[in-house]
């Protein structure tokens, strides 16, 4: 049995990640079917987001056990967690105000800044991580994952843009670039972790 399989559920990052995913899915369905209002939906989303705290704890514990943890990663995780809460709060407030109040152009611009500022905070957090990480291998991995995400967003963005130009697909908002890049970065990390595991299976890793 693997080490991960021996861990109780509440200590597995996948358990909390699945919890967030399922909760968001259920809330989205309830919103789409008008079973709940936007305010209730927002409150439920914030409650669902609280699972990010145990997810972070479980992830840090797992990284510690696999030898991937550094002080810079701990700082990065804390900052990113804070920015994520800021984003949820900013987005919720912005959407709630925009739904209820007739805004001028300047007011709309200021409202748009509410979710933008925390996203800028996330980008700053990632930049700080690359500056603060003293372990060159972990820094190398983070850069490779960023490039993986960048490649993904450039490919998808360019492809989608031309499909949109020729009216094959509908228009999508430009703010999608950041989540798509972040997902690509996550996939890059998974791909490298799999490569690590394969290499260690062949050579006999010490845990």
């Amino acid at each position: 049995m693997s080490e991960a399989a021996r861990l109780p559920l509440r200590r597995r990052p996948a358990f909390w990640a699945a919890g967030i995913f399922v909760a968001f899915g259920i809330i989205s369905v309830l919103r789409m079917t008008d079973a709940i209002g936007s305010t209730t939906g927002f409150i439920l989303m914030v409650i669902a987001m609280l699972q990010i705290v145990p997810l972070t704890r479980a992830s840090l514990a797992k990284q510690r056990s696999t030898g991937h943890l550094s002080p810079a990663i701990v700082r990065y995780t804390r900052r990113f967690l804070l920015a994520s809460f800021g984003y949820m709060l900013g987005l919720g407030i912005a959407v709630t105000i925009a739904d209820r109040v007739d805004l001028s152009e300047i007011e709309s611009f200021l409202i748009a800044l509410l979710p933008v500022i925390p996203v800028l905070g996330m980008i700053w957090t990632m930049a700080r991580y690359l500056i603060e990480e003293e372990d060159e291998f972990l820094r190398h991995r983070a850069i490779m994952a960023s490039l993986f995400g960048l490649g993904g967003v450039l490919t998808l963005g360019t492809f989608w843009g031309f499909l949109e130009t020729f009216e094959v697909v509908p228009h999508i908002w430009a703010w999608w670039v950041f989540p798509v890049w972040a997902i690509g970065m996550g996939l890059g990390q998974c791909w490298m972790a799999l490569a690590d595991r394969r290499a260690n299976d062949g050579l006999g890793d010490e845990s």
Binding site: G67, H68, L69, S70, L138, H140, D196, L203, E206
Partner: protein, 63 residues
């Protein structure tokens, strides 16, 4: 790049974690260098050589 890190470490009875702590890097870094998945920078290679009291050429071999 090939290296003799695993053999040298075994000769001294050092774990990956002990070597990582000595070098001030993560255990995963030592693992990646040992398995040839990551070539260290020159400063880290010098640091590794210093820890083993050998020259870089005695640890890292050309492909």
């Amino acid at each position: 790049m090939k290296n003799r890190l695993k053999v040298l470490r075994a000769e001294r009875n050092w774990s990956q974690q002990a070597l990582a702590e000595e070098l001030g890097v993560s255990r995963q870094s030592v693992n990646a260098i040992e398995t040839g998945r990551y070539d260290p920078s020159l400063p880290l290679a010098f640091q590794i050589a210093e820890v083993f009291e050998l020259t870089i050429e005695e640890i890292f071999l050309r492909d």
